[in-house]
């Protein structure tokens, strides 16, 4: 049954071919067995999952189950879960048990999904390889010596290794799409404001967005149906109606105009990934789409712009960790300043400290205009590039990351090289646009990703294009060897 997609597991549950308790036990056994060497989990909540599964079975027996009732999922450990530790991949929150559920968690619970546990991630979602986690790196199910990507690396690995039916992730600069690509799964970052950020531990608040990570576009649609929607508790939540994302999956692609940004097929793109992405685009042409070359002229400056905006917001958001009300506190502080400094110095890892310091510097007196204000102006130009492109095309296609998964340790000592792994994903965050990654082939047995970027609130269209591609390809059904 673990070989079945979320949609298939859902059908089997409602047909009473399997119970939620059986499905939950099966996945918990995989997490503890074949999945254990991946280090994909920070916390497994077995007892609670089984209790929830029993309730789901009652609902299913009464004939009142929905699409997610009894389906086993996992949450990135950035979402607060009442009563279950939320670490955010950090020593700072190693002992943190949230007093409430994030809206995403509450909505999926309300929809009947079973939470198996919380997945490993880069510390405070700052990283592209899952190596910055306090709990150690996650291994890529396709190659144990390779990274799964990040920051939602544990969620991506868990879905790829068939340890759950689906997962949640968050994406600030590519943290859903890049690990989805490197692990060979489907990952969707919705429009900024589409999914509530309430209870999702903040990194860069004007960029952060939660989304589903699944095996197929159909599965992502089912999860997004439950996750999306207005939330008065998130001041940047958008009050737009939520369509049924599953309803339009089969829409015809005839006449769809796909923009191919020439800047996304640059010399930095590995030739093997380029060939697979081009082949996938050919497939979309066969399905009736037309392609148009476009230019996103400022896209080369998206990464530099991001590394001002994101650290600036991070330095402000992470000032709340002071060792006083919750989280890590250093031993025997001499005075209050020592308490702050050592609690933060010992509680945060190197990458988080680097970003806090860059942000602090960029926002400090005398430097604000040169860095933060400049970056906000750049952000406008980057966003305008997309606005102009969407006057001519319906969606934009290109690679997700420029290569397949790199080795653990390969980029760990060089922040800038690591940052460039997100070169094609970051611009969508700066503009607030929805983006999706789907598997489109293998490079030396490691997955490559096709990225689709849409205009605001066109998640349905992105899922439709991805679904149609998945009807004529089988990359999304490939399972890493050893996890069949």
């Amino acid at each position: 049954m673990h070989r079945q997609s979320l949609a298939e597991q859902s059908r089997a549950l409602r047909a009473r071919e399997i119970s939620s308790v059986e499905l939950t036990e099966l996945h918990l056994a995989r997490i503890a067995g074949v999945g254990a060497p991946l280090n994909a989990f920070v916390t497994v909540a077995a007892e609670r999952a089984l209790a929830d599964a029993r309730q789901a079975d009652e609902a299913l027996a009464a004939g009142c189950g929905g699409a997610l009732t009894g389906v086993p999922i996992v949450h990135k450990d950035i979402f607060c879960t009442e009563g279950v530790r939320t670490s955010c991949g950090s020593r700072m929150l190693d002992n943190f048990i949230a007093p409430y559920d994030a809206t995403v968690v509450a909505r999926l619970k309300q929809a009947g999904a079973i939470m198996l546990g919380k997945t490993n991630m880069d510390e405070f979602a700052m990283g592209s390889s899952n190596e910055t986690s306090w709990y150690g790196p996650v291994r890529n199910p396709w190659a144990a010596d390779a990274v799964p990507g990040g920051s939602s690396g544990g969620s991506a690995a868990a879905v790829a290794a068939r340890l759950c039916a689906g997962a949640t992730g968050t994406d600030t600069g590519g943290s859903i799409r890049q690990p989805a690509a490197l692990c060979g799964i489907t990952g969707l970052k919705p429009t900024y404001g589409r999914v509530s950020r309430y209870g999702m531990i903040a990194f860069a608040s004007s960029l952060d967005q939660a989304g589903p990570m699944t095996r197929s576009a159909e599965d992502a649609a089912l999860m997004l149906n439950a996750m999306a929607g207005f939330d008065p508790r998130d001041s940047t939540s958008v009050d737009e109606p939520v369509p049924d994302y599953a309803a339009g999956l089969n829409a015809d692609l005839t006449g769809l105009r796909i923009g191919l940004p020439r800047e996304y097929f640059d010399p930095g793109l590995s030739p093997e990934v380029a060939a697979l992405v081009e082949k996938a685009i050919d497939e979309l042409r066969t399905l009736g789409a037309e392609t148009v070359e476009i230019s996103l002229a400022n896209s080369a400056l998206a990464v530099p712009t991001y590394y001002v905006v994101a650290p600036a917001e991070c330095s402000s958001n992470l000032s709340r960790y002071d060792g006083v009300r919750f989280g890590y506190r250093c031993e025997e502080p001499r005075d209050l300043e020592d308490l702050y400094k050592r609690s933060r110095g010992e509680g945060f890892g190197a990458e988080v400290k680097r970003r806090i310091m860059i942000g602090t510097y960029a926002l400090s007196a005398g430097y604000y205009d040169a860095y933060y204000l400049k970056a906000q102006r750049m952000r406008r130009l980057i966003s305008d590039d997309f606005r102009q492109a969407f006057e001519r095309v319906d969606i934009i296609a290109g690679p997700t990351p420029p290569t397949a998964a790199f080795g653990i340790g390969e980029k760990a000592d060089d922040p800038i090289t690591m940052y460039l792994s997100d070169i094609y994903t970051i611009a969508a965050n700066l503009a607030g646009l929805p983006g999706l990654s789907i598997p489109c082939g293998l490079v030396e047995d490691k997955p490559a990703g096709l990225q689709l970027i849409g205009n605001y609130f066109t998640e349905g269209r992105l899922l439709n294009v991805a679904h149609r591609y998945q009807q004529v390809s089988d990359w999304h059904t490939r399972t890493p060897p050893g996890f069949e």
Partner: protein, 95 residues
């Protein structure tokens, strides 16, 4: 952009981060590299471009001034490092 040892110490102090002496040169190197990298923004003239703070250019939503929170002090203090009689404990700040 090259940061000195004292620049790094100054920034770490502003951010209230204790940094090991031995790590300061490593931070200085990495932070200088990152600042040099982000300075590529200066290749583009942004004179007259309006800064973008929110992807959808939305403004902050207002809500009615109603009490929506209820008292959960015990619940919240259960996860605090040190509390006594409902108060959060910190080292003495006033002599």
């Amino acid at each position: 952009m090259s940061l000195s040892r004292s620049d790094v110490e100054g920034i770490a102090h502003l951010a209230r981060l204790a940094i090991d002496e031995a790590d300061i040169p490593v931070y200085a190197g990495h932070l200088s590299d990152i600042l040099e990298f982000v300075a590529r923004m200066n290749e583009v003239d942004t004179e007259g471009v309006s800064p973008m703070a929110h992807p959808l250019d939305a403004s902050q939503r207002l809500r009615p001034d109603e009490v929506t929170e209820h008292d959960q002090r015990e619940h919240f203090q259960a996860i605090a490092p040190a509390v006594e009689a409902g108060l959060y404990l910190v080292p003495k700040v006033i002599e």
